[in-house]
């Protein structure tokens, strides 16, 4: 197959090329041969002979006897062309469109005038329209936004009507802003906390949650929560053997049954006491003041198996939550707080 293809290419590049060049030269010579000139000119002009003259000024085209319309005055081998007039309805709508555009020019922003433009009598401006519609929307919602802004969390939570609104509005807000990390069901994912539990890094009271949404964690906000789990292994704060021991100990906290499997666990208690209690507490139940998680429960952000804990202790963790202060209003953040709290009670 490839031989045939190569052969074809070779032929077309040699013989075929010369053939085409010779053919086009022959055609050119034939075309410009002096004795052929008259014949070709006649051929070129034949169908235009009657047509290619300016129409006389007083030319009166014939009227077609069958339709009663004028003809264009041209004739091709005895065939005449009707000059059918444009239907009246087209002129009607053309005029209507023209009048509309004149009205539009007067009422709406339309014509450029050098360094500015005509603003139109209505003074319409897309930016003002969207600002007005946002204001209208806020006005429509004010019957319940006022209540949510001013009432306490407990009052809103006990008001069924308001909570219906929180669930509906909060769902949209959560989908748009929070769900990419925390999941559509708010149950989190690897590296992103589950919000439906009772375990909260920075406190689970409504005010705490509202504040966390406002300032974020390790964010660009000036009052941001700062949480830095050091890289005990990578930054050589602990030798590898000690890391393994403390990992085993931490693992045993949430897996009491597995203790006897790991002889290092007890040895890790001392290392834990020396390095970890400052943040995670003596009882390892964490500290919401510094965002240190409770290590004794089954809830893990970065995974609770031995390997994951080892990765965490070795390389540290600096989770990041953006600040929402400039992106979402106080009202939006309060709705989100209530929404998240509602998720928690709904699915413990």
């Amino acid at each position: 197959m490839s031989v045939e293809h190569d052969l074809l290419v070779a032929i077309s590049k040699t013989f075929g090329l010369f053939f085409l060049i010779a053919l086009s030269i022959a055609v050119l010579i034939y075309t410009f041969w002096p004795s052929n000139k008259e014949r070709f000119d006649r051929a070129a002009q034949s169908i235009l002979r009657d047509d290619d003259r300016p129409m006389p000024v007083d030319h009166q085209p014939d009227r077609d006897s069958y339709t009663g319309y004028l003809t264009t005055g041209h004739e091709w081998n005895g065939i005449k062309e009707l000059n059918t007039p444009v239907p009246r309805v087209v002129y009607f709508f053309l005029t209507l469109a023209f009048l509309f555009s004149v009205g539009y020019w007067i009422l709406m922003p339309a014509w450029p005038l050098g360094v500015t433009y005509t603003k139109g009598l209505l003074g319409n401006d897309q930016r003002r329209i969207v600002a007005a519609s946002l204001r209208d929307a806020a006005g429509d919602r004010s019957s319940w936004t006022k209540k949510i802004e001013t009432e306490s969390y407990a009052t809103i939570q006990s008001d069924r009507g308001l909570m219906e609104i929180v669930r509906e509005t909060g769902h949209t807000l959560f989908d748009n802003n929070c769900a990419v990390c925390h999941g559509l069901d708010a149950k989190g994912g690897p590296g992103f906390p589950n919000l439906t539990t009772s375990s909260w890094l920075w406190g689970g009271k409504p005010e705490d949650i509202f504040n966390t949404i406002r300032v974020g964690i390790n964010s660009a906000h000036k009052d941001t929560h700062v949480s830095q789990m050091p890289a005990f292994g990578r930054d050589q704060m602990l030798p590898r053997a000690d890391v393994l021991k403390v990992v085993a100990f931490v693992y045993s906290l949430s897996n009491p049954g597995a203790k006897d499997l790991d002889p290092n666990a007890e040895a890790g208690r001392k290392i834990f006491a020396a390095n970890c209690v400052a943040c995670h507490g003596e009882d390892a139940r964490g500290n919401p003041e510094v965002g240190a998680p409770n290590l004794t429960d089954k809830l893990w952000i970065y995974g609770g198996d031995l390997e994951s804990i080892d990765t965490t202790v070795w390389g540290g963790r600096q989770g990041h939550m953006p600040t929402w202060e400039n992106r979402l209003s106080d009202l939006d953040r309060k709705i989100l707080t209530l929404y998240v709290l509602d998720k928690r009670t709904a699915t413990p």
Partner: protein
């Protein structure tokens, strides 16, 4: 018949008809395009407008290379639902240094005009690596190789130069240090990091975007670009009522 007489005569002259078509067609162009260069309100003033750093520009090139613009727009229109969802509508000045502009015309994914700093770097890295890991319903392709591909920096001065040729005010100093600045922006502890903030302003984000301070990958560049979107100027965040065209 009489009002069409002129047209009948014109139709019979090929050159005359062509010239006539050009004149009529150019009226539309003149009325619609020329005023954009003279009317002041067309592009707003934004004295605080920053330049893309070399790293962000490289990320922008990756964004174009991977065809992100085919599914993501970068323009929030002046419509209530868009402002409600994405934030303040886009201003012309925000695309002042976008050559070519990436407004886009189709959204398979969401608009990205204000995505900058909305999500964390970790999220962007996880999401670009495999969108399904963080958003199970996503139909976006995975871009895993970005995390392992070294960013090409030797041609960055040329990219800056090309941008300068079309009106972006990069200085000679910026062009000469483009490759070093790209490295410095992803490595806050390196001596090169200082030059980035010196040349591009204090507000420049200097971080290990892909979580690996010692490596300069394409992921660094793309995440740096995504995190700057909508943050080159605060012009769009002035109260909407004041930002009307009739100042």
């Amino acid at each position: 018949m009489s009002i069409f007489g002129f047209h009948y005569r014109l139709e019979r002259k090929a050159i005359g008809l062509v010239l006539g078509i050009i004149v009529v067609a150019s009226i539309g162009g003149l009325v619609e395009i020329a005023p954009l260069f003279t009317i002041h309100q067309t592009v707003e003033d934004a004295p605080d407008m920053r330049l893309y750093t070399p790293l962000e520009l490289a990320g922008r090139n990756i964004y174009i290379r991977e065809g992100c613009y085919a599914c993501h727009s970068q323009m929030i229109r002046t419509l209530r639902d868009e402002v409600d969802r994405y934030g303040p509508y886009s201003l012309a000045v925000e695309s002042k240094y976008d050559h070519p502009m990436l407004w886009g015309s189709k959204r398979t994914g969401p608009d990205l005009a204000r995505i900058g700093e909305k999500y964390s770097d970790q999220w962007h890295v996880a999401h670009l690596n495999n969108p399904r890991d963080v958003v199970p319903v996503s139909v976006m392709p995975a871009y895993g190789w970005l995390l392992t591909t070294e960013l090409r920096t030797d041609d960055l001065p040329l990219h800056l130069k090309a941008q300068r040729a079309v009106g972006v005010p990069y200085t000679d100093d910026m062009i000469a240090n483009a490759a070093l600045d790209a490295y410095g922006q992803t490595n806050p502890d390196s001596p090169q990091a200082e030059g980035v903030t010196k040349r591009y302003g204090k507000a420049t984000t200097v971080r290990a975007f892909d979580g690996q301070p010692n490596r300069l990958t394409e992921m660094d560049a793309l995440v740096a670009y995504l995190q700057i979107l909508g943050r080159l100027t605060d012009a769009a965040h002035t109260p909407i009522a004041e930002a009307g065209a009739n100042k």
